[in-house]
């Protein structure tokens, strides 16, 4: 089938451009998955695993973004207003059990800020990814000491000859 330039441009504009983060994460994830499953070298498998995990981190980080939003830190002006309200609430502390006057706080428009929650979640996921990688590298070192190789087919061949000898 022939696509002329305009149709192709339209297609890309409709399907790829608005969801570019999804496309990139899927491509990265499949690259990682391919390396994990089909590579023979154990270290290459681990590189694939890292790409795979990073793709998911990218996905999470990208879903927190909104168009026209900034980083989720209050500006200096808003911070000062907050401080004043807090100060004010403390001065009139005759009824401590009473609810603080929330309406005195400056209003924050959530649309102005990127969603910080997925980013915070990914801090944990990064830690998990690093520890998995560290553990897996330690295990591959143990495999190397045992078999003198990190190529899977060579290791499997060695296992086969060993178990033949045992029988």
């Amino acid at each position: 089938m022939m696509l002329d330039h305009a149709m192709l441009a339209n297609l890309i504009e409709d399907t790829v451009v608005p969801k570019i983060n999804f496309w990139i994460y899927i491509i990265l994830m499949m690259t990682g998955l391919y390396a994990m499953i089909s590579k023979n070298n154990l270290i290459k498998k681990l590189i694939g695993m890292s790409i795979f995990q990073t793709a998911i981190i990218l996905f999470y980080v990208s879903i927190g973004v909104k168009s026209g939003s900034g980083i989720p830190i209050l500006g200096a002006e808003t911070q000062r207003e907050f401080h004043e309200v807090e100060h004010h609430n403390h001065e009139h502390d005759e009824h401590p059990e009473e609810f603080p006057d929330v309406y005195a706080y400056p209003t924050i428009n959530p649309d102005d800020y990127a969603n910080p929650l997925p980013h915070v979640l990914m801090l944990t996921a990064i830690v998990v990814g690093v520890s998995t990688l560290g553990l897996a590298l330690a295990i591959s070192q143990k495999i190397y000491h045992e078999y003198g190789s990190i190529e899977e087919d060579e290791i499997l061949a060695q296992i086969k000859t060993r178990s033949d000898n045992d029988d």
């Binding site: 998955l33 994990m36 154990l42 498998k45 695993m49 795979f52 995990q53 998911i56 996905f59 999470y60 879903i63 997925p118 979640l121 944990t124 996921a125 998990v128 520890s131 998995t132 553990l135 897996a136 330690a138 295990i139 591959s140 143990k142 495999i143 045992e146 290791i155 296992i159």
Partner: protein, 506 residues
């Protein structure tokens, strides 16, 4: 104090893990007592928590970490089902720690403190996974379990490192799929609390959107990889059989069962029955996958001569039981699946403990370890026989009752393939275990098993099976628990009924 029980259950093993490493630097003999104390406190908290839950039937306990609102913070939620599963985890963890006394000393000398630290972390992770009501917190606890189990497996025999490496690769794929699925749910619902996700799905009527469906498929795929459902079972056998004895006996009964619990929790609490069983084509398809898993697991088990390998393939078949039962979509099937989580944990535990004793005593990992075993190790063989008969499904053991509920669920749903597979698997188990009984009770070479004319006092410690009490007693308790769970099936099913009543199952 009783309000804090859910936190104590998770925090005690964490504290124990820390103490185990610190004290182990001075004196490694302190590690086991530390682990035992931590696990004993955890297990008794689990009992007390279950009693609390059962005191108010039909209601679940909620525990908020730091007092935060569930939509912001992390919430633990306990109903009768999760209470029972946590009790099973902590009981297995405690008994297995006693069993590990001599094994760890012999198998990983001078590194006991690291072993017990990892062991306690694994128990903490498993308990947390069952208790938590937060989808992302579940991922973190899942990775705690995975990382500790990779390390625990890798310290096994010479082939353990490669088995562990493959488990790392597969396990990471599974956990990452789960994480991705949670991300899709978060995009649509904006919630991470399981009840929050469910409420948002119902309130906004978005259950039909492709995002939610993709999220559901990804979560299920991740959970199935981690529980070794049949075509995804490749990692399980090597990992569990090359691991150190006490790692195998801890992980084999617990890991897959906890993942089945997570699957049930996801199906019922997060997505809801209307969503999961909406398309009959797909739910029937999963039952068929489970049917294939049962048959394949049984046949593969029959083909093995290595005792531990055989038992690991039985786990693959048992996972098929539970997945099939849960996906039948009716009440009996779900009861069968959740009751089987408990009974299968106990059965697998008992069989692995008994097989561990036999393999340790004879130094032989194949079937011929059992030649004349009854004469040499009578108590161990009694335990093994009880476990095996429960696996086959003879009353009054728990195996019979879980099969009873699963089969009646299968008949109600008209899933005859599943029913036939269950019966077939029972027959295969019978063949499998009677092959061992034959060797153990009627050895071909009579002279090796029976001693004629000799002085009966010639074997002074025959009654002790020449096995340390620390290994024998947990095994016998596990065997007794099979009968207790079986005889108390009506009570347990009654508790499960109250827990499952709130989910509109047919």
């Amino acid at each position: 104090m009783t309000d804090q029980l859910p936190a104590i259950i998770v925090l005690m093993p964490l504290l124990g893990a820390l103490l185990s490493v610190l004290l182990g630097m001075f004196d490694r003999k302190l590690c086991l007592p530390v682990a035992l104390v931590a696990l004993a406190i955890t297990a008794s908290s689990a009992v007390a928590m279950l009693a609390n839950v059962l005191a108010s039937p039909g209601q679940s306990l909620s525990y908020r970490f730091g007092g935060w609102d569930p939509l912001v913070g992390i919430e633990y939620r306990i109903d009768a089902l999760s209470g029972l599963v946590v009790l099973a985890i902590t009981a297995v963890g405690f008994l297995n720690a006693i069993y590990s006394k001599t094994r760890v000393r012999d198998e990983s000398p001078r590194r006991e403190h690291y072993f017990y630290a990892l062991y306690l972390l694994l128990v903490a992770g498993l308990c947390g996974m069952v208790l938590t009501n937060d989808a992302f917190n579940l991922y973190v606890l899942l990775e705690i379990c995975s990382l500790t189990s990779y390390a625990l497996i890798a310290i096994g025999n010479r082939r353990a490192a490669l088995a562990s490496f493959n488990y790392v690769i597969i396990g990471t794929i599974g956990a990452s799929f789960y994480l991705l699925g949670v991300g899709y749910l978060y995009i649509k619902t904006g919630a991470l609390n399981m009840d929050g996700i469910h409420a948002a799905l119902r309130a906004n009527d978005i259950a039909d959107s492709p995002t939610i469906k993709v999220g559901f498929i990804l979560i299920m795929l991740g959970v199935w990889i981690k529980m070794a459902l049949f075509p995804l079972h490749g990692w399980l056998s090597n990992a569990y059989s090359y691991a150190p004895t006490t790692t195998g006996t801890l992980m084999a009964p617990l890991m897959t069962k906890v993942m089945v619990y997570i699957m049930i929790r996801m199906m019922l609490s997060v997505f809801g029955t209307e969503f999961v069983f909406h398309e009959e084509f797909w739910s029937n398809g999963v039952v068929w996958i489970a049917t294939v898993a049962i048959i394949a697991g049984s046949v593969l088990a029959l083909a093995r001569s290595d005792i531990k390998k055989m038992l690991t393939y039985l786990i693959v078949a048992e996972v098929g039981y539970m997945v099939g039962g849960a996906w039948l979509g009716n009440h009996s099937g779900m009861i069968g699946a959740s009751y089987h989580i408990l009974s299968d944990a106990a059965m697998t535990f008992c069989l692995f403990l008994a097989a561990g004793i036999i393999i340790n005593r004879t130094g032989e990992a194949r079937m011929n370890a059992f030649d004349g075993a009854f004469k040499k190790y009578p108590l161990t063989m009694i335990g093994f026989t009880v476990g095996a008969l429960a696996m086959i499904g003879l009353p009054p053991s728990c195996g019979f009752f879980s099969k009873f509920y699963l089969i009646s669920g299968g008949i109600e749903a008209g899933q005859w393939g599943f029913v036939v597979a269950l019966l077939f698997s029972s027959l295969v188990n019978a063949v499998l275990f009677f092959r061992i009984f034959e060797r153990a009770y009627f050895p071909k070479d009579l002279a090796s098993g029976f001693e004629f004319g000799g002085d009966p006092d010639a074997k002074p410690d025959r009654s002790l099976d020449q096995v340390p009490y620390s290994m024998l007693v947990p095994m016998l308790i596990a065997a007794a628990s099979l009968l207790v769970i079986g005889l108390a099936n009506q009570t347990i099913v009654g508790w499960l009924n109250t827990a499952l009543a709130s989910f509109s199952l047919k």
